[in-house]
């Protein structure tokens, strides 16, 4: 009851003030903050997305920038100033070639099953490789594939996007060209050793590369699928 009263009694703060609020919230967090979270923390009636836009423009060209990560926003130092920074952060265990390739395959082919990763790399994917990527929180489980055995799929996370400075999976370097060249398809082998149908898979992928859907996907529990 007190809430509704507040809502009706007080107007949202001016946009300039909202911008200050977004500034404070983004500065305070090392992790990207979603618009939803911003809205929850700002006074009723605020418009976080407008405020973020203002802030983003304000920090263009500055020593720190407002970056979009998936559906969230974060402040990061400008890349050209990296040389000034002390490498305080402990370097993550050096990733093996297998892990790097597996990560790239998941990013470009998501959602992708383990069998598909193995098909692309031509070798078995060791348990440790997937584990390492899961531990880094660069990949996570996606929806189960609606094929026999209902295998789990892997997709990349917001942390992945943040780490590599990507707004979304659509911004992966060269993703358009690779798609155009048909290299992101999973073509069945002519001798039928490969079971996945390319049509179904591409539908999945279309969905995933769709902005709205990524959020939707994030909330979806794999087991919710029948």
């Amino acid at each position: 009851m007190a809430d509704t009263q507040e809502e009706s009694l007080f107007e949202a703060p001016p946009l300039a003030e909202q911008e200050r609020m977004v500034e404070a919230i983004l500065f305070a967090s090392a992790e990207p903050v979603s618009l939803l979270e911003l809205a929850k923390r700002m006074p009723h009636g605020s418009s976080p997305s407008e405020a973020v836009d203002l802030l983003r423009r304000r920090y263009e060209g500055r020593g720190v920038n407002v970056v979009k990560v998936g559906q969230s926003f974060a402040i990061r130092t400008a890349a050209d100033l990296g040389f000034l920074m002390q490498r305080e952060t402990v370097e993550t265990r050096k990733l093996s070639r297998a892990a790097i390739e597996t990560l790239a395959i998941i990013a470009y082919h998501q959602p992708v099953t383990r069998a598909e990763i193995e098909e692309i790399r031509g070798v078995a994917v060791s348990r440790g490789t997937i584990d390492q990527l899961l531990e880094l929180e660069w990949i996570r489980l996606g929806r189960r594939r609606q094929t026999p055995g209902r295998p789990v799929t892997f997709i990349v996370t917001e942390q992945f996007l943040d780490h590599f400075g990507l707004e979304s999976a659509r911004d992966l370097p060269g993703v358009k060209e690779l798609r155009a060249a048909g290299l992101l398809e999973s073509r069945p082998a002519p001798d039928g050793t490969d079971g996945s149908g390319p049509l179904e898979k591409n539908e999945d992928q279309d969905e995933l590369f769709d902005e709205d859907d990524q959020e939707e996907d994030a909330t979806q529990q794999p087991e919710e699928e029948q």
Partner: protein, 264 residues
């Protein structure tokens, strides 16, 4: 480069053979047959889309041969690939037999070319990805963070109805007690005896039992009933003691009592 001797008539160039040897020296460093095929395909120095699968098959078979000569244990999947490529090679070289089932050599070759191109594309993509400005290397997150403290605010509410019901509850609470027989509408035998003993001594003439009911017990039918019953029981008690006598002319006629004469 100790092993330069080769079988006569091999179609491989010197460079190919050297490449195959280098492969073999480092065979553990390869991630399976597809990786080896991709490495071999680079020796053709052409775009992967134009790579000659037939030549590649021969290169690979040469690599496996070499490994055998050097008594290097190759994993099973390398040998499976060799067998498959030998099959592919025969398909590519021989005209298809009429009525033959299965995909053509060209189809199989095209798929292998696609696989190689795709793997190479993923490797390039991985390299580009890792070369991006990354958090903790070129770009940095906030050093001093502030945690968002979660504060739970409990707001208590009550409605006017709650309040009134609460008050009503208190106002009726006194009546809420363990159930006991409500005695205030009941005249006990003791009370009736007590009353009767006081008055009977003066009653010489017959008088209606009802006239002996105590004051205040006649108006309310419930009380009257109880008082009548108690008083009647009391007269019986006193009659037994020989203190009074009673008579009734007829069934349901009025009961009359009087003092019993001491001499009688």
């Amino acid at each position: 480069m100790a092993h330069t001797d080769t079988d006569a008539g091999t179609p491989q160039s010197v460079a190919d053979r050297m490449a195959a040897e280098e492969l073999i020296v480092d065979v553990d460093g390869y991630e399976g047959p597809l990786d080896v095929l991709l490495t071999l395909s680079r020796t053709q120095k052409v775009d992967l889309r134009q790579v000659s699968i037939l030549q590649l098959a021969e290169q690979y078979l040469g690599f496996v041969e070499k490994a055998k000569e050097l008594r290097i244990e190759l994993a099973a999947d390398y040998l499976v690939m060799a067998a498959w490529l030998a099959f592919l090679k025969s398909r590519l070289l021989l005209p298809p037999e009429p009525g033959e089932e299965g995909p053509s050599g060209e189809e199989l070759a095209a798929h292998l070319a696609f696989q190689l191109e795709r793997l190479q594309a993923m490797r390039d993509a991985a390299a580009r990805l890792m070369a991006r400005d990354r958090i903790g290397r070129e770009r940095f997150a906030r050093g001093i963070t502030e945690d968002v403290t979660h504060r739970k605010v409990v707001s208590y509410t009550a409605t006017l109805l709650d309040l009134m019901q609460g008050y009503a509850r208190i106002r009726t609470k006194d009546e809420f007690r363990p159930y006991v027989m409500d005695r205030d509408a009941v005249l006990t035998l003791e009370q009736a005896l007590d009353g009767l003993r006081h008055v009977i001594g003066a009653q010489v003439d017959w008088a209606d039992l009802v006239s002996f009911l105590p004051d205040g017990w006649t108006a309310d039918p419930k009380k009257r009933r109880s008082a009548t019953a108690a008083t009647f029981a009391a007269t019986l008690e006193l009659a037994k003691e020989g203190k009074l006598e009673l008579r009734q002319d007829d069934t349901f006629a009025k009961l009359e009592i009087r003092r019993r004469a001491r001499d009688g």
